[in-house]
């Protein structure tokens, strides 16, 4: 039975880049492949704008000084805005009226105040609620705010507010899609009748034809390690702490490490990197702004992937990408959250300290290119989005979801 699914998020997915967007985009592809209709509506903030937003998306407006005085809480403010701002609420009510969804899927809990009001006003009678949880958000937000220098009291208040929202939403949901087994356990322990599914993050399949790798000019045919990260501070911090501390003297004085993405600037300018700049420059090459095609090509020619991720919940998309590559992977146990089945997999080395990371890098760089058996390759393929979502049981669960009351249809 086909369903009309309306997803609500705090970022548009017209041009997906970051992890959350990619996950929603993958869910969209998955649902559409099963014949369901899928639309996404977002409350968005800068830098999104023309070209990166869709017709259903609406820009976050002012909702009060509490939100503007604290960094990193626009997602929380978005729920308040969508539910309380008359124009915003009218936008979403109109959308629901026009699209008549069978399923409302919340991407993260933040727009729950909007859905709550729509339900209270009878606009979603009989509509199934799917809570697509990307993380157990409360503690993450608290940690982020504390790192940003926000007072512990205020950070705890935000955490409590988010956890209350998550708990309420979980209780009201018909289906909860958890991203890791650990997170699924949290929901299972709650008072909810929802079906709890586990759908770890995955990765897209590489394009059928790759462009020539820009790494070739820098690395030649020599093996090199690959790291990619956005400008999100924990990306560069993890790299500096676990990989760059003490310099790259374990590598020969030739280019042996590709650092890609927005984290490049922060890594290059970090004092620990600058400490041994001369030596590091011999060994590291930055690709700060590669397009998708070039990035795929660099990944395809890498010898090993580095995942020095120290912070974050859920399953990391970069981890899935690294595993799917079939290359050597050196990762923290945090990076493999939700992908725990790969902790002891061949070609995967778990390293949680700088010393362990270095030891692993030395081992990997001294080893030939990884060769996987068919079974090992098949296991790694399960991290592609299509396989990951198919294995989650989500297709069947959505098919079995209740339909709206006919009078409302």
């Amino acid at each position: 039975m086909t369903r009309r699914i309306l997803a609500l998020s705090t970022y548009p997915i017209a041009k997906p880049r970051h992890g959350g967007q990619l996950r929603v985009s993958a869910l969209q592809d998955f649902y559409r492949a099963l014949g369901h209709t899928f639309e996404c509506a977002a409350v968005y903030t800068a830098p999104y704008g023309p070209g990166t937003v869709g017709p259903n998306d609406i820009k976050l407006g002012f909702v009060g000084s509490r939100w503007t005085d604290t960094p990193f809480v626009t997602d929380l403010a978005s729920g308040r805005f969508a539910a309380e701002n008359p124009a915003a609420y009218a936008h979403f009510s109109g959308l629901v009226a026009r699209q008549r969804p069978d399923v409302i899927q919340l991407e993260q809990p933040f727009l729950w105040p909007l859905v709550k009001r729509l339900r209270a006003e009878g606009k979603l009678d009989g509509v199934s609620i799917v809570y697509s949880s990307h993380n157990w958000e409360g503690p993450l937000k608290e940690a982020l705010l504390l790192n940003a220098g926000i007072s512990a009291t205020k950070a705890a208040e935000f955490r409590a507010e988010i956890e209350a929202m998550e708990t309420e939403l979980a209780g009201a949901s018909d289906i909860i899609i958890a991203v890791s087994a650990e997170e699924a356990k949290v929901y299972a322990a709650m008072e909810t009748s929802a079906r709890i599914l586990l759908a770890p993050n995955g990765t897209s399949r590489p394009p059928g034809r790759l462009v020539e790798s820009k790494a070739k000019a820098e690395f030649g045919d020599a093996p090199f390690m690959f790291f990619v990260g956005s400008a999100y501070p924990p990306n560069s911090e993890g790299f500096i702490d676990l990989v760059a501390t003490g310099g790259f003297y374990f590598l020969p004085p030739h280019k042996r490490l590709a650092v890609c993405g927005g984290a490049s600037d922060a890594i290059f300018s970090h004092p620990e990197y600058q400490r041994f700049l001369g030596a590091n420059s011999q060994r590291v090459h930055f690709f700060p702004d590669l397009g998708d095609e070039d990035l795929w090509a660099v990944k395809a020619s890498a010898h090993a992937f580095l995942l020095p991720i120290k912070f974050g919940g859920g399953t990391n998309l970069k981890s899935a990408e690294a595993l799917a590559s079939g290359k050597w992977v050196i990762a923290t146990s945090t990076a493999l959250r939700g992908l725990d089945r790969f902790l002891d997999a061949p070609g995967v080395i778990v390293a949680d300290t700088p010393a362990a990371f270095r030891k692993a890098a030395i081992k990997v760089m001294g080893s030939p290119a990884l060769k996987l058996t068919k079974a090992e390759r098949d296991a790694r393929d399960t991290v592609y989005w299509d396989r990951a979502l198919a294995l989650s049981g989500l297709g069947q669960a959505i098919g079995e979801a209740r339909t709206p009351v006919p009078s409302r249809a």
Partner: protein
């Protein structure tokens, strides 16, 4: 010929056409050697530590290797090794010739050991604008061409500004005393008089007679090739560009043998001057990719290097070790007297730069205990530290200066000559060496060579040097050190017994022997 240099932006070095003899030698892989004197060629002070090692080995290398050997220095600006004649090399080794690496292109022959006033003028003349300003202040006419001409005639100064300042202040005892007081140090006029004498002696001994521009002394390049091994054992972190040398090696396939003193900056960075931690980490980081051979100054250092390379996945390099010589160059027993503060006293001696790794604090704490307990006589017994003031010892020095129990019984000496050090060794009751870690521990060898019973920590390479001749105490065992010192001060029979044992059993390593082992073991690595 290694003419990567022909594209160099500065003056093109004069290239050397290979002689038939050289071509013949080139056909024997690993048979040509070049001893690098880049550190000695810059050195203007007393040859201690690494400079001493470089010079002691280099002076004997010609006799060992004959015409297989060249002497050279590394030109950082053009990334090449410049040949030095044997005669010039010997002048450098004896401290009579310094090379000017500044590459000003105009540096003339300098004058010999100029008077301080002339030295100061030479410094000012290197900054013509500043010199002109001083002339204006003195009401003299400024003529820039004349200033440049005078600068050319005067040449480069042979003393650094810092040393010049010290020499000047030291010449005015009251001023020196006042300045040292401001720095929290106290010296009597008598002590200052001694420092003045030592300074004069040091200048006479060590200042080079001439300072010659690098390219004037070494116009030719060492031909690089697979048959050549360059031996380098100086302060290479200051005077070499290892990344450039790595590239040079990749191009010319020559081999590189480095003398490795210790891996303390990697193993114990907290014991190293902060600035040097990064510098030396970088140096070692590149060295192990660049060097083919590591000549370690102890088994301990060799072991440390081997472990470091394995741990860091570094390519294996040929390793061997050799001991350092324990004989001081000046053994003229009548040459120097004990400082006045030690005349008629019994003293225990510790020779080392004063810095945390050397662990002077343990001795100070132990000594304080001994004085407090009355275990040593404060009238007749002294604890003597010989060494310059290093880093991070401010609080310790303050305690030593101000502790009323001990301040008159701890004597600190610095900037002393080899002859004066010999006198101190000869007059000591026993030697001390509480260091937290050593790559060798030359002062321990020197103390044993002088027949002194020694108490030492058992860390790093020290047991290799001390063998069974030494009483070992853990560097943090203050009571252990106090008891061992008390025994040697109070039990003259035991002191005499230990002294006899050292004299009978200790086999000092002379520099001749050390160099022989160095050459033999390096030869075995280079031509296995």
């Amino acid at each position: 010929m290694d003419e990567k240099l022909s594209a160099a932006p500065a003056r093109t070095p004069k290239t050397t056409r290979r002689s038939a003899k050289e071509k013949a030698r080139a056909s024997l892989p690993g048979k040509r050697l070049a001893f690098d004197l880049s550190t000695s060629a810059r050195w203007g002070g007393i040859a201690v530590g690494i400079v001493r090692v470089e010079r002691e080995l280099a002076r004997r290398a010609a006799a060992r290797w004959g015409d297989r050997l060249d002497y050279c220095v590394y030109d950082t600006q053009q990334n090449c090794f410049r040949r030095i004649s044997v005669a010039a090399a010997m002048e450098i080794i004896e401290g009579r010739l310094q090379l000017d690496f500044e590459q000003s292109g105009k540096a003339p022959l300098a004058q010999t050991d100029m008077a301080l006033r002339v030295q100061l003028r030479a410094h000012l003349l290197r900054r013509p604008a500043l010199f002109a300003l001083t002339q204006v202040v003195r009401g003299r006419k400024v003529d820039m061409p004349a200033i440049h001409s005078l600068a050319a005639e005067t040449g480069a100064p042979t003393l650094s500004l810092r040393r010049l300042g010290r020499e000047y202040v030291l010449g005015h005892a009251r001023l020196y005393q006042a300045i040292q007081r401001l720095r929290g140090r106290s010296f009597s006029l008598e002590q200052i008089k001694q420092l003045q004498a030592e300074s004069l002696e040091s200048r006479a001994q060590t200042l080079p007679d001439v300072r010659v521009p690098l390219r004037e002394a070494a116009p030719d390049l060492i031909p690089l090739g697979p048959d050549l091994t360059i031996i380098s054992g100086g302060l290479d972190w200051d005077h070499k560009n290892l990344r450039a040398i790595y590239a040079l090696k990749a191009e010319h396939k020559f081999r590189y043998a480095a003398i490795i003193y210790d891996l303390i900056p990697l193993k114990f960075p907290h014991y190293v001057v902060p600035f040097y931690v990064d510098l030396l980490t970088d140096y070692f980081g590149e060295l192990f990719w660049t060097a083919d051979y590591g000549m370690c100054i102890s088994e301990c250092t060799e072991r440390d290097v081997r472990e470091h390379c394995i741990e860091n996945g570094l390519p294996p390099l040929g390793l061997a070790n050799f001991p350092l010589g324990g004989d001081l160059p000046d053994n003229d027993e009548s040459d120097a007297e004990l400082p006045p503060a030690l005349k008629g006293k019994r003293y225990a001696l510790f020779v080392s730069t004063i810095e945390p790794r050397k662990n002077h604090r343990a001795l100070y704490e132990a000594w304080d205990q001994l004085i407090q307990q009355g275990a040593v006589d404060p009238e007749t017994c002294r604890l003597v530290f010989v060494g310059r003031h290093g880093w991070n010892t401010g609080e310790l020095m303050h305690e030593i200066r101000t502790n009323p129990r001990t301040r008159s019984t701890i004597v600190i000496l610095q900037g002393i000559s080899d002859a004066a050090l010999n006198a101190l060794y000869r007059g000591a009751e026993f030697g001390l060496f509480p260091s937290r870690y050593e790559g060798y521990g030359l002062p321990l060898a020197e103390m044993l060579s002088h027949g002194l019973p020694c108490i030492s920590s058992p860390t790093g390479s020290l047991p290799e040097v001390g063998g069974t001749m030494v009483t070992y105490k853990d560097p943090v065992d203050i009571h252990g050190w106090a008891n061992a010192m008390a025994q040697l001060f109070s039990d003259s029979a035991e002191l005499a017994r230990q002294r006899r044992a050292v004299r009978v059993n200790y086999q000092p390593t002379s520099w001749d022997k050390a160099a022989e082992l160095f050459f033999e073991r390096l030869d075995a690595l280079v031509t296995p």
